[in-house]
Amino acid sequence: MVFSSAAFLYFFLPVVLGLYFAAPDRWKNLILLLASLFFYCYGEPAYCPLLLVSSFLGYLHGIWIGKTRGTRCARIALISSIVTITGLLVFFKYTNFFIKNLNIIAHTKLPLLKIALPLGISFYSFQILSYTIDLYRGRAGVQRSFLNFATYVAMFPQLIAGPIVRYTTVEKELARRSHTLEGFARGVSRFVTGLSKKVLIANTLGELGDIFTRLEQPTVLFCWLTVFAFMLQIYFDFSGYSDMAIGLGRIFGFHFPENFNYPYISRSITEFWRRWHISLSSWFRDYVYIPMGGNRVPAMAWMRNIFIVWFLVGFWHGAAWNYIIWGLFFAVFLILEKCFIKRLLGRLPSFFAHLYALFFLTLSFAIFNAEGPGQGMAHILGMFGFRDVPLASAETIYYLKSYLYVFLVAVIGATPLPAAMIKKIRSRETGEKIINLLEPAANTGLLLLSTAYLIDGSFNPFLYFRF
């Protein structure tokens, strides 16, 4: 099931909200868990047992670590949890990638496994690992209730597409949380905002990618247009989904971490990764990079650490070489920025820093969006006119004109400007009253408009679904 669907909005959600808020507090986690399992099984019933097994493994390892804390056995328990959970992730997500590449390198003809990628495995595996690792480090307490632990792992707001919520973030709220009218209302507004971002902006910009494949004559301008559209599409799609997850979490009394902070206003690649998919980059920082020594090691070891971490970040996004190249692309820039680019940018007006960051981000997303490294490179060559394509065409101008306002709305929406304007209006008493009056109407309007788009469209799965 996806949030941006009639089934979720107008059947699942009202029923779950009704049951949840009607139930006494001691039943709320059970209702949330059962609802989450239904949510998961609705789209992927075959892998529901895997979700439960993974949760149970994480739970058991937690008990083991808790019982052996301070001893060598706790370390064994931790390693066992990492190997088990990562092993499941690697098996389901990467086995066929390894088989394909082995067949190419060793000229073998090993058959691929007939397994699909279980929905959300990349997200819930990392959540389970955050629990066992933080438990080992003494930052979390043992969760003795499998019900509560499974609720944490399987919670439908963040189950299939994040944010990656660490156990420590919701540990207290799993046991006891408050449900306030303000929290519910904030959650609703956040959810509706996210839904609108996804349905009205992301889905619309996604059309340009389909159009590109059907073009009579590709042009340099359309190559750029497609990449810009994709950059904005993936941002609104993913941040929209995170908004919906955070909003739903709030409705149910949880405070999930922010996952995006206007990444496209970054002045460096380093800054971009502090603003983009924050829960993932911080996960790798805290659970891989820092344990490897981080930057408190000699220069060569530090560079090695950067390359390993960003190889893994790229690989996490997908079992394909273009994702690996995408990750390593960032590794190179992170190293170069640390070594000298940042100092150089510091001396220039910030406009140039923004331009530098946007330019190389554009190239990186051309790689990310491609079906393989070859296609990514071909697209980049097209962007710079190296593929014998014209600069523009009547067709390109038509699509630029057609999508211009959507682009403008998306570009403005990707900056802090709208939030800053609302904040400024709110700073005055009259402004606050006006916003308070408009907010319910805006929510209703956006929800109805998003519903209209869904009804007229077709099934529209979220982009980050298969991670």
């Binding site: 669907s5 107008y10 075959a46 009218l181 009205l200 067709e395 038509y398 306002y405 606050e432 319910p440």
Partner: protein, 367 residues
């Protein structure tokens, strides 16, 4: 409004909306057919373990929920309005609006399809039509007149005709592009209006060497209102409907239409079809694989085999002055191989291939 009232309003409006919609959708009976979209609506899928474990049940259920959603047509109108007038996009579902006229983007040109169409015609000639007088004509779609002027992409019609002229053998081309204008077409439908194409029929008859022109007949023009064309529901906006016009006289009224598949005899105009899923079906009762129109006012005269699409349905009655019999073949519904079972090709007849440009551009549908 203070923050507390705002929170109450946000919560109540949200909960009321999602719960209200849920109940309304449960209570409302399922609809089988959408007249505005001219298609069957998805029904509740039959549950099966295979469907569930394939992950297809969710997809089928979502199609069902969306198709059966309460006030579906209203929501589609909201989306169309938002897309075209709020977000300023140039089309919705590949349809665009110019002064109350609805047009469908038909582009780019698929050269392989055009080559396939030419091959199809040549194969038919080689198989059945050798020695006959064979003609072909292409009906331009509305984009030909509007797209370039309004800044919309359209297929390369010159290139289409260039390929057809180069590839098609043994047939004479009759140009219809120069004798049509946008005013000859309905605003809300892709078809031409029968009362505006008498001169087109004249040109076809004249080029085929018929003695009597269409314009030589006296017609009575009748109108039916409102006519919501095929594009009307697809676009989803409240565009004013058209008035359907048809021409009739004693010749047309007395003509008899034989349906080779249904084995029934009918009239040229099936008025009851105006109130069915496609009002344009009043012309020869819509899409039929093989029909024969007998013109009782012209016995012992020439006969025409008209290979056609839906445009042929409305022009065929206007060609009756030239022929005692018109055999209409729709290759979208009958395969070439089966024609000899129904048509005696040993008899010499005139042959006209009359297809619209979009059909040539998607000629794979011709069997």
């Amino acid at each position: 409004m203070n923050a507390n009232f705002k929170n109450i309003a946000v919560t109540l409006s949200f909960v009321t909306l999602i719960t209200g919609m849920m109940l309304a959708n449960i209570i409302a009976p399922d609809k089988e057919f959408s007249f505005s979209e001219r298609r069957l609506l998805a029904g509740l899928p039959d549950f099966s373990a295979d469907l569930l474990f394939d992950g297809k049940l969710a997809e089928e259920l979502e199609k069902y929920f969306l198709d059966q959603f309460i006030l579906r047509d209203g929501f589609r109108s909201v989306k169309a309005f938002s897309r075209l007038f709020i977000f300023g996009q140039k089309e919705n579902n590949n349809l665009y609006l110019v002064n109350d006229g609805i047009y469908k983007l038909e582009y780019p040109l698929d050269e392989k399809s055009v080559l396939n169409a030419a091959k199809k015609l040549n194969d038919l000639y080689d198989l059945y039509l050798q020695g006959m007088n064979v003609y072909y004509a292409i009906v331009p779609d509305k984009n030909f007149f509007i797209a370039a002027r309004e800044g919309y992409p359209a297929m390369d019609y010159d290139r289409m005709l260039e390929i057809l002229h180069r590839e098609i053998r043994h047939m004479d081309y009759i140009d219809l592009f120069s004798c049509l204008s946008i005013g000859d077409y309905y605003r809300t439908d892709h078809h031409w209006s029968q009362d505006r194409i008498v001169r087109v029929a004249d040109k076809l008859l004249s080029r085929m060497g018929a003695q009597a022109p269409a314009s030589g007949m006296v017609y009575v023009k009748r109108e039916i209102y409102p006519f919501y064309g095929s594009y009307h529901g697809q676009l989803g906006l409240p565009v004013p409907p058209d008035t359907m016009a048809y021409l009739t006289n004693k010749v047309i009224e007395n003509a008899v239409v034989y349906d080779h598949y249904q084995k029934t005899y009918e009239r040229v105009y099936a008025f009851e079809m105006f109130y069915e899923k496609d009002p344009y079906d009043i012309f020869l009762a819509g899409a039929r694989p093989l029909l024969t129109i007998e013109n009782r006012a012209c016995t012992g005269g020439r006969e025409l085999i008209l290979f056609r699409d839906s445009f042929g349905s409305s022009i065929a009655p206007l060609l009756l002055p030239g022929f005692s019999k018109i055999i209409l073949v729709d290759l979208r519904y009958i395969s070439t191989a089966m024609l000899a079972e129904h048509i005696d090709f040993s008899k010499k007849r005139d042959v006209l291939f009359l297809y619209s440009a979009p059909v040539i551009n998607t000629s794979w549908m011709l069997k």
